[in-house]
Symmetry: C2
Subunit: 299 residues, 2 copies
């Protein structure tokens, strides 16, 4: 079939029996109450983690016959609110959400209305909604323990702010809990929208201080550290670095960066499966909080 033939269908007795007839999905959706469209809201699709997550979601959704409407919040809660109401008024069948809200109350209404919602990457405490996350706290602990095993005595933590994001605060807790000397914690909070400058400033402050290891709360922090060190790395030759998120770059840079790898493909795939499972079985659905394991990649 050439694409010509599928442009601007109009139903007629002849056409409805035509082999390649594809019904207008909006009319169908209006009538039937389903649109086979899934909304996806993430902070930033150009962040490699969310790019890969969306790819995984898209592949599974395509297999199951769903299209995706993808939007970015850039961590802006106001935009997130608007996007959620936009998407719902576009009659999405369900929503996969990596939320930037600081409070679960913003989406309490979705829960109360039994709107099909899957939280990914980020979740809320005491909030009985489907979610797929990784064991962030344990992953961060593993990272700090690895630093100690590698000879590090005084590890510091670089985190982005805002820190109310569940994945971030869990990683910070993991770092704090794994410290040998609990009252010697050192935490640098880097604003998420100005990472490069913030990291450079933190490194300048750290220069010649008594520390020998860095735990990075995500790949953006680690990349900014690499960039800063590439420009002015003296004094940091013996610092050991580990980062949450495993990205390709870590294979090709100096200094070597170890990482805590997340099962992104599985997370995306499971999010779609969980959602479709809920479509098929709307009554007896019990929200599940799936927590997946991370893998330490030593370099």
């Amino acid at each position: 079939m050439n694409v010509v033939s599928i442009v601007r269908h109009r139903k007629s007795k002849a056409q409805s029996k035509e082999l390649n007839y594809i019904p207008n999905q909006y009319a169908r959706g209006l009538r039937i109450g389903r649109t086979n469209t899934i909304g996806v809201i993430v902070p930033d699709i150009s962040n490699i983690f969310y790019g890969k997550l969306c790819k995984a979601i898209e592949q599974e959704a395509y297999l199951k016959g769903y299209n995706l409407i993808i939007s970015n919040t850039y961590e802006d809660a106001q935009k997130e609110k608007k996007l959620i109401s936009d998407l719902i008024n576009r009659n999405i069948d369900g929503l996969i959400l990596a939320s930037s809200f600081d409070d679960k109350n913003e989406i309490e209404g979705l829960r109360q209305n039994d709107f099909p919602l899957i939280l990914v990457d980020r979740t809320f405490e005491n909030f009985n909604v489907d979610s797929i996350t990784v064991s962030n706290k344990e992953g961060a602990s593993k990272a700090v323990e690895f630093l100690y095993r590698s000879g590090v005595k005084k590890p510091v933590c670089f985190t982005i702010s805002p820190v109310y994001i569940s994945s971030i605060s869990d990683r910070i807790q993991g770092y704090l809990g794994a410290l040998k000397n609990q009252h010697d914690a050192k935490l640098f909070q880097i604003p998420h929208n100005n990472i490069e400058e913030g990291v450079a400033a933190a490194l300048a402050e750290l220069k010649h201080q008594d520390f020998d290891g860095i735990f990075c709360v995500n790949n953006n922090i680690a990349k900014a550290i690499l960039k800063s060190l590439a420009i002015n790395g003296e004094g940091f030759e013996n610092i050991k670095i580990i980062s949450f998120d495993d990205i390709e770059v870590f294979d090709i840079v100096h200094p070597k960066i170890s990482s805590i790898s997340q099962p992104i493909e599985e997370m995306g795939k499971k999010a779609v499966m969980l959602l479709i499972d809920r479509f098929d079985n709307p009554e007896g659905h019990q929200p599940q909080q799936i927590v997946m394991d991370t893998v330490l990649i030593e370099r």
Copy 2:
């Protein structure tokens, strides 16, 4: 307004005068013939270039009140055909397409039906449809000239296959045209779906051969070279490398990689503006082929 209040609206006299009433977009679309939805089809959203392009498209579309349905083809022409017909049957108002087709005939039907279509990144010869690309040939020339200026005597070219993709073939032409010794061209074609192995094999073949510079046709090739060199870089110490696409990684790796930077944000923004311009002025629309300049970034 809490999100509760926008869930599952149902129209009534009271509600239609309600302040925060948002009409069902599908019913509206069905009636009015517009859905304020733009389809976006790219090869792979997890490729940083397309990730950034989609981000730019999304930002501009959001400002103008449009949602995006984003899909990936993974260079699969069959999937691309299905996606195009899917999206059209979902009544998208227009399509922004980075096509993997080897032949313009696949979308000739869209053109003939005056379906609002904007080609980005990749286009077709003698095809009078709106498009936004960069001057790939000139960019590749600039790259090769830079290699010569840097002292390179014998540059080789690493390209991905399939090479019928317009941006790729234009870059190859630019490389070939800029060679001082035209009959000494050396081209390595790396299959797009197996880049790392292909690049490693090509480098193994090149080892100890008489060459001293590489022009990479895109960032994926350059990253694979970096990875290969990180594993086994001996014998390549004095090779000068330049790549199409400027990516953050190039700031933080050794060897230094210069690049030909594309104005991704502007391309995405212009694609949306061109499309909306066409919506607003469907009659007098004359297809434009916009070609943007690249910038050489020396490292």
